[in-house]
Amino acid sequence: MTSREDWWYDEAAGPLVRPYAMVRGRTRPNAPDLHLVTQVRASAFASDQTSLTVEHREIMALCARPLSIAEVAAYLDVPLIVVKVLLSDLIERGDVLVQNSSPKVPDRNLLQAVLDGVRGI
């Protein structure tokens, strides 16, 4: 995996240029409802990946199992906003599935499941 320095700092151009370049001038995610814990995972029917950038492909590999946006950002070691832009591309292509709900307070059944789960760890 690329180190933080490679992503984040460009010797000649200074900080912040690399992530900006990485999203190729696109400045905000076109999938707006991406939150810290929003779950994403690679589709079983992902399209041909040859046209994807290295960063997109890294995300596809990570998301072979379901992960939160925060986890993807942490594993790639890039700021959340950058991961949101990159994930938006993949969601738009249908290559990444997303849990399409904004965070809402869990209901009683869900709380009970979480309670049982935490007791069991």
Partner: protein, 193 residues
């Protein structure tokens, strides 16, 4: 673990979260680490110097930006549910970040260090004002349990309904008990409305 539903579709789990808050150095990251199934992860959000959320990278190259780091851990409940634990950022000027963390959360654990009770006041205020369920966990640093639960409750001017528990954030079982207490408190709150 299998992530395919009975209809053959890939499952995208439901995510829930708990916020671990409290003053500077009260053991937030330690608690996340003690119960998380993975070593705590760290992610960074981009901010302008004024502490405002950057949600648009336009013109970012020329701007002074800073980052706020979030520590978080994960507990996989089952194939359909995953719980995330977020430690709040130490500096209080990042309140907007707290809003994002608190939205849709099961609730919050406010960690307090009895040697510096006042450092956890802002966290308590935050959750009280937003009516987000929370409990107070007194982190007993090296057995430095100087006060009883009732004394802490009184010193923090807490409502009777808010549970106060003692814990050792380094200890997995102890931290687990704190989470169980919070989830039960949230369930009671839900039943009450």
């Amino acid at each position: 673990m299998v992530f395919v539903g009975s209809d053959g579709q890939l499952i995208v789990p439901t995510a829930v979260k708990i916020v671990i808050a409290g003053g500077f150095g009260t053991g937030k990251t330690t608690m996340v680490a003690s119960v998380s199934e993975i070593p705590p992860l760290r992610t960074e959000e981009l901010l302008t110097e004024a502490g405002v959320h950057v949600d648009d990278l336009a013109g970012i190259e020329g701007k002074d930006t800073t980052t706020v780091a979030l520590d978080f851990g994960r507990i996989t409940i089952n194939t359909k549910v995953v719980l995330y634990l977020f430690g709040t950022p130490g500096q209080n000027r990042f309140w907007f970040m707290w809003d994002e963390l608190a939205t849709g959360a099961i609730g919050a654990v406010v960690l307090v260090d009895t040697r510096r009770l006042d450092s956890s006041f802002p966290s308590i205020d935050f959750f009280e004002h937003r009516a987000i369920p929370f409990i107070v966990a007194v982190n007993c640093f090296d057995g430095s349990q100087l006060y009883t639960v009732d004394e802490v409750r009184h010193a923090l001017d807490l409502d009777e309904a808010i549970p106060v528990v003692l814990c050792d954030a380094r200890d997995r079982e102890s931290s687990k008990t704190v989470l169980v207490e919070l989830i039960q408190h949230s369930m009671n709150r839900l039943a009450a409305v």
